[in-house]
Symmetry: C2
Subunit: 458 residues, 2 copies
């Protein structure tokens, strides 16, 4: 058995850091969503790039699949080893290697989480802004091209990774990018690996852009009579050139779930949560401009949170959005959708989605990063009821079709994994075949996270 | 002869829009720099994507090389057809197809120039910010991943192209990206084609991000005693979080050239040219902050240009920088270097370059986009003197080595073309082989701009 031979060699390489315990395999066979548990054959915990390279060479020699693993918070089953083989858990490669204050960048290992990174950065006056909600590893965030609440101001992982070290399918180690802020030196390999979900290589180091902690921050929450009013307030704000650091929409159902989860008493109507970063006067000016815009759109109950503890309460509430919704249907599972549309179509997309869910008799509160046109519905269902899952998947399918028809994308930030693979041909057409050709060129034996991202091989 | 057969078929396809006139061939065999004229076999002027696709199929059937052409302003010989074949000039595909004000994006053909695009956008309150100086075509700008004076605020072409339509080497047409502001849907093909210099496909349409014309703009020029002082003022400004829209450095030699070219009388010492975009109060606040910073670094002769005509004069001067330097050595040619380093190393990089040029007896004024760490020396030489060119190339070579040793890149914005090909292995290591594998996968017969970008085939 090739797998047994490979595992024997990997044990020699890694010792106790090659785990085959049932609990470890089960843990690494789970995802955050509704997919069935699919344990790999082994879990490896490398400590160095050299070990990852050796591991990859052993697996290549024995044709054993290799799937990277950060902290397991991806939402589309990206890290599930459907073909078995070895899961590479980067938990032991979680160091901040260097911080360059003058250049506002940092070299980090893939296993460091965004919260741990920001904790280490606190005294420097710098921070890493990408915030997908979950305390994900930065390697995982790069692999799925994560973004979240702050992307409207600071960009996604695409914009905040300067360079990578990557172990290729044959064990070679490459470095992409440099520490320069921009480059025209050849194909953008950094951009190619970001978002490739471990199908082209294993990320073993990242050079990240950092940003200055803003002098002043202010946040606010505001209620609206309708989603239309809230979205129009957002589009006006963008058109006016007010630079929001975050702008989040919660629909009435999400607010109800919050109230129940946290014992709060917000008015049960759509809300916007917004944050501005800048100088004291800049933030005050933006806040004033935003206040005028929401007044034009029947905003009410406007409440500023200027103190850090108030802001933390606000964003903790937002980050607990999915949990509040799960809490509303104890014992059920949630399918988290993730479409992104041109902002001019956002109100239509949300309203049509809400109407569809209601007509389908489904419970699916809507919330999202409306500054980017990206929103989610967490559609709940009884996992013991096969028909219920089919109905939820059909509704999710209609959301994707609607987004594509509006010039949007099936996924703003969660990525492809297993859940979105059926839509790749439709969104990309012949471009999907181009992705397959790139995969074939870089991973001819289909070792890296096989069965994901690209068309099946003949 | 395969080429004759191909040209006969192309004539049938394009009629008079397949040109073989000597003047046209010569024109398309020229570059902006010192490379010898290398006329192609024919120049094609397609009007539609369909024609580009048919052209590509004919050339593929006869193994005829195809090289894209915008307006010929690239600086490293990117569009020179060294292997002959057909140059595809996109001059007849120069329309703005649609402008979506609500979404702040536009669909354009590759042949439209950035000035023509901004002229069409003027009434919309939006603009396309990427400004490489030359009035380049947006297709060419995407192909070389151009940037320029405004990248420090608005990003490069990498950041401002949402999606592309591309004709592949076999004539297939793909669309990359969507009109959504962000996506996690698979490999970033948009990012892969941007900067690929026509070696992976021909861009036939671009969806571009637009930005709101700022409410207020102010610009200034300021003199310094040394390059060190000027660069320290820039790094302090970045650290303070002041958002500059442009920040340009001119060394004393560049100022001397300006004075001679334009009959000006600026003090012959290093200068910074800066511009701020924002609200009236925001711009005033940034200007005040910047004023305090330059005072800390012995800045003097600080002069604000708030009126549009003053600003235009300032940036026209900057954009004429290279011409002013050419003018200082009539009849000579210039080799324009383009390194980019981490900003903490910028003063060292510039000072060492200036010392090196002086020690080598070369005339090479230095100017650049210091907010990104990107600078140029225009090194002049007598083109009739072979030894002079060798000496200039050796100095340029040392600039690249210095940039790489500092963690930077050989090219911040001009790209690879012919001039930088010798450094690809050194900057990218095994990553260059990965680029070669991608090229092989997408253009197996090596038809698209052959001899550029990737390692030679065996």
């Amino acid at each position: 058995m090739p797998i047994q031979d490979a595992l024997a060699e990997l044990s020699t390489l890694l010792g106790q850091r090659l785990s085959r315990s049932k609990s470890d395999l089960d843990l690494h066979g789970r995802s955050e969503t509704y997919f069935p548990v699919t344990p790999p054959d082994a879990v490896a915990y490398p400590k160095t790039t050299q070990e990852v390279s050796e591991l990859m060479k052993i697996c290549a020699a024995h044709a054993v699949p290799v799937t990277g693993w950060g902290v397991g918070t991806s939402l589309e089953g990206q890290a599930m080893a459907f073909s078995g083989g070895v899961v590479v858990d980067f938990a032991r490669m979680n160091k901040v290697l260097s911080v360059n204050q003058g250049d506002m960048d940092a070299a980090v290992q893939p296993g460091v989480t965004r919260e741990a990174l920001n904790e280490e950065l606190r005294a420097t006056g710098l921070f890493f802004p990408v915030d997908p909600g979950a305390n994900a590893s930065v390697g995982g965030m790069a692999s799925t091209r994560a973004s979240g609440t702050t992307a409207v101001r600071y960009g996604t992982m695409r914009d905040n990774v300067l360079g990578l070290e990557v172990v290729l399918a044959d064990g070679r180690v490459i470095r992409t990018g440099t520490r320069a802020r921009k480059t025209s030196a050849g194909y953008d390999l950094t951009g190619l690996f970001v978002g490739s979900e471990g199908t082209l290589g294993l990320i073993t180091e990242l050079t990240l852009k950092l940003h200055g902690q803003p002098e002043a921050i202010t946040a606010a929450i505001c209620a609206f009579d309708s989603v239309d009013d809230a979205v129009r307030a957002v589009t006006d704000t963008i058109q006016m050139g007010l630079s929001m650091a975050r702008i989040e929409l919660l629909d009435a159902e999400t607010v109800k779930a919050f109230n129940a989860y946290a014992g709060a008493s917000m008015p049960e109507c759509p809300h916007l949560m917004v944050e501005f970063h800048g100088s004291e006067t800049g933030v005050a000016e933006m806040a004033e401009g935003f206040g005028a815009i929401i007044a034009d759109h029947n905003g009410h109950g406007f409440d500023w949170a200027t103190r850090p503890e108030e802001r933390n309460a606000l964003w903790t509430m937002r980050h607990n959005g999915a949990y509040a919704i799960y809490n509303a249907r104890p014992g059920w599972k949630g399918l988290v959708t993730d479409v992104c549309v041109p902002i001019s179509r956002l109100a239509d997309a949300i309203n049509e989605t809400a109407d569809d869910l209601t007509a389908s008799g489904l419970y699916g509160p809507i919330l999202g990063h409306v500054g980017d046109g990206n929103f989610h519905s967490v559609i709940m269902f009884d996992a013991d009821d096969k028909a219920a899952l089919d109905k939820v998947k059909a509704a999710s399918n209609r959301m994707v079709e609607r987004a594509l028809a509006m010039g949007g994308t099936m996924t703003g930030e969660h990525g492809i994994g297993v859940g979105k693979l059926p839509y790749m041909a439709e969104e990309h057409g012949q471009g999907w075949q181009v992705m397959g050709a790139i995969k074939q060129a870089l991973d001819p034996d289909n070792l890296l996270n096989p069965g994901k991202m690209v068309p099946p091989r003949n």
